[in-house]
Amino acid sequence: MRNISIKKFKEALDNKNGELSSLAKSGKKIIGYFCTYTPIEIIHAAGFMPVRVTGDAETLSKVDAHVPNFICPYLRRAFESGLNGQYEYLSGIIQGYTCDVACGLIDMWKENIGGELFHTVPLPYNDNADSRKYLSTAFEELDLKLQNVGGQQIYSNIESSVALYESIRALMMGLYEKRYKGTLPLSGSEFHTVIQTGFTLSPEEYLKMLKKLNADIEEADTKSNTHTPVLISGSIIEEPIYLDIIEASGGRIVGDDLCTGLRHFIQTDTVGHDPMERIIDRHFSRLPCPARSRAVERAHLLMGLTRQSGAKGLIFLFQKFCTPHLADYPVIKDMLDQQGLQSIMLEMDETGAMEGQLQTRLEGFFEVMGKI
């Protein structure tokens, strides 16, 4: 039996700030993004490197003078990191309009931290011929903005950029399939580390690492685990400790509906004559975020995902104050209850101090599930 090591991923993650700083110094422009609805293929095709802004700051002090304490801990931490100078390597931030906090923060980032390009892509909600044309124009606008800060015209590279990200997504979806079948020999937090690394490495580099990981996994034995299979739903999870607690309390994470997870990597059978059309098609066919859909629609999708992954229940793991998720939760919970699907909702606040309490609640949850 071969042991799977994710050491390389962990190292890459730990060294990301140093690596990205030297990359920026060497002249490569790095563009940050908060949300998975950012068209990273377009940023990449312009010759820039898209990197997800993470909330690394452990203690928060500067941020209180800027944003209220009732916005999600993720963006409070990310902004603190920015104010601390961690993101000096970023040339700007691009996002798709999803939640209100991210929308406000992009302006505040420009004002207080600075950079040369800040832009929110005004994403359409409806899928029809007009909205597709509109989104295509919105992407052209983005292309022009990228060119204004030295980007190449995307059209010569977009085909290969899209292909690159599609390859990554295909490999990730392969890992998800294994996870559904119970043959992925990675713990929740190990898999999470693999995912987080993808947000900070160049896609070329990341693809290589994923290929190697995939080959290793093919040869590895499956770890047998009798814990209760669960699906996690929420937005951003950054600290793997939460996943460890779930698994230590009796759960086995078999699937997710997360920005830092399936929703980022999901690959749909996109159609279109050219790569831009495929990006647009994916926008409309992906598993939606609650900021872009109705709770009822998501409840059905989550039930499907539960079946597909073999989960017996759901854990809603939310960033505290995350409006899109909190607004959908009661409806989804109600619909799950009607189907007899067990679920529990946990909020991650910025102290992270609720670990003990979290474990107790989870143990209770798994105990009840064990009896069903």
Partner: protein, 415 residues
């Protein structure tokens, strides 16, 4: 001072407003009885003019919330919503309306007959997440209603391009087609042009009324801001224009004769963010120390003109401007507006309501505060509160902060 209190009003036209409010809600219930299609929708977009032009009845759940707050229904509505699992951290408008529609919606204790049930539910796309989720929640409660999801682009007002306008114009047409289809009515475009003209007239009057607040002493304060009810619910009707004309006459008269809100106006204040609907009386609180709230950010949502020669485009642009102008979509623009207003209205100090119930308007306040201080030397104070939920408002903290702030302003105004 009470935690929940009504404001003291000085404009005699403000008294007439009570009738206008009652009339609007009675009209809604009346329309329902007569079979006029009722549509529930978010405020601050062009759908209202389209509804009035087609003879349909609009209802604004967000506007019903201040009514609930004024009549004390809010705590019960919150309890119902929270028992359903809606977090206390969600916008109070969302929790209030959810509790209301799932509670005893038209029960005997509900004032003004309550809201008529919707035949049509319209969400805007543009605007904040809670505003969209409010309408989604309604859809589940009223499954027989016809649903229209508009798709208005969320763009900073400074970055609006032709393609955003074109798309918003298409959405206006799509809405009209939908309404014709589900109601069997037709759109008379001459009538629409007339409605837009009336709507534009209301905007013009609105700006004129607001401009009289530049007078020292100011003829009226934020305590009277309830007059914006007609901008939220009656834009495009003569009711709004007739009322605003009266308000303008009164305000002009007071300004010319130097009649202020209080005898001796010492400090002119600016208010940022939504008022505390359950305690409009706090706008009067400053008065005992000679302070008057002369201007506020919120009123800017209707400070625009509509191109009457191109009604559909005018409504599309209104839909693109109105919400972003006061929210986090355009923090830079908001800052520019606040600074300009503070200069023009001769503001001595600003009050920033850090609003637990409204993230979009609270985001960016710190940058605006800093710019006010740095560029204009205008100091400000932050009040932690909530526009709907009085559990997030401490009157003691409010008084302590405001008293200290006012003392500081008074000291510096008399060197």
């Amino acid at each position: 001072m009470e935690k929940t209190a009504k404001s003291k009003k000085r404009l005699s036209t403000a008294k007439e407003l009570n009738n206008i409010v009652a009339q609007f809600y009675l009209e809604g219930n009346d329309a329902k009885e007569k079979g006029v299609p009722v549509g529930w929708m978010p405020p601050m977009n062009g759908a209202i003019e389209i509804f009035y032009a087609m003879g349909l009845q609009p209802v604004f759940p967000e506007n019903w919330s201040p009514v609930c707050a004024a009549f004390g229904l809010t705590p019960n509505n919150f309890e119902i919503a929270e028992n359903m699992g809606f977090s206390r951290d969600l916008c109070g408008y969302l929790r209030n309306i959810t509790g209301y529609i799932y509670g005893d919606m038209n029960g005997e204790h509900v004032p003004l007959g309550g809201l008529p049930e919707p035949d049509i539910i319209l969400s805007a796309g543009g605007g904040c997440i809670p505003a969209m989720k409010i309408l989604h929640t309604l859809e589940r409660r009223f499954p027989d209603a016809n649903i229209f999801s508009a798709d208005l682009p969320q763009v900073p007002v400074t970055e609006i391009q032709q393609y955003h306008i074109d798309y918003a114009v298409k959405e206006m047409h799509r809405l009209i087609d939908f309404l014709c289809q589900v109601t069997g009515k037709t759109m008379d475009y001459d009538r629409l042009a007339e409605v837009v003209r009336i709507s534009d007239k209301a905007c013009e009057l609105w700006d004129k009324i607001m401009s009289y607040r530049k007078y020292v002493p100011t003829p009226f304060s934020a305590a009277e801001i309830g007059i914006m009810f007609v901008m939220v619910t009656r834009q495009g009707t003569r009711i709004a224009v007739d009322f605003l004309e009266k308000v303008l006459d009164e305000v002009k008269e007071r300004a010319k004769n130097g009649i202020g809100v209080i005898e001796d106006e010492k400090i002119r204040l600016f208010w940022d963010n939504i008022p505390l609907w359950y305690n409009m009386g706090i706008f009067n609180y400053f008065e005992k120390m000679g302070g008057v709230v002369v201007a506020e950010t919120y009123s800017a949502a209707w400070s625009m003109r509509l191109d009457v020669d191109d009604p559909i485009k005018a409504l599309a642009l209104k839909s693109l401007w109105s919400y972003p102008m006061v929210s986090c979509v355009s923090i830079e623009k908001r800052k520019e507006m606040v600074l300009k207003a503070c200069k023009e209205f001769k503001i001595d100090g600003a009050i920033f309501h850090s609003n637990k119930s409204c993230v979009p308007i609270t985001m960016g306040q710190s940058d605006i505060r800093r710019a006010l201080e740095k560029e204009l030397g205008i100091p400000s104070v932050v009040i932690d509160a909530d526009h709907m939920d009085d559990r997030n408002f401490s009157i003691a903290q409010f008084q302590t902060r405001v008293d200290a702030f006012m003392e500081m302003l008074l000291d510096s105004s008399h060197p």
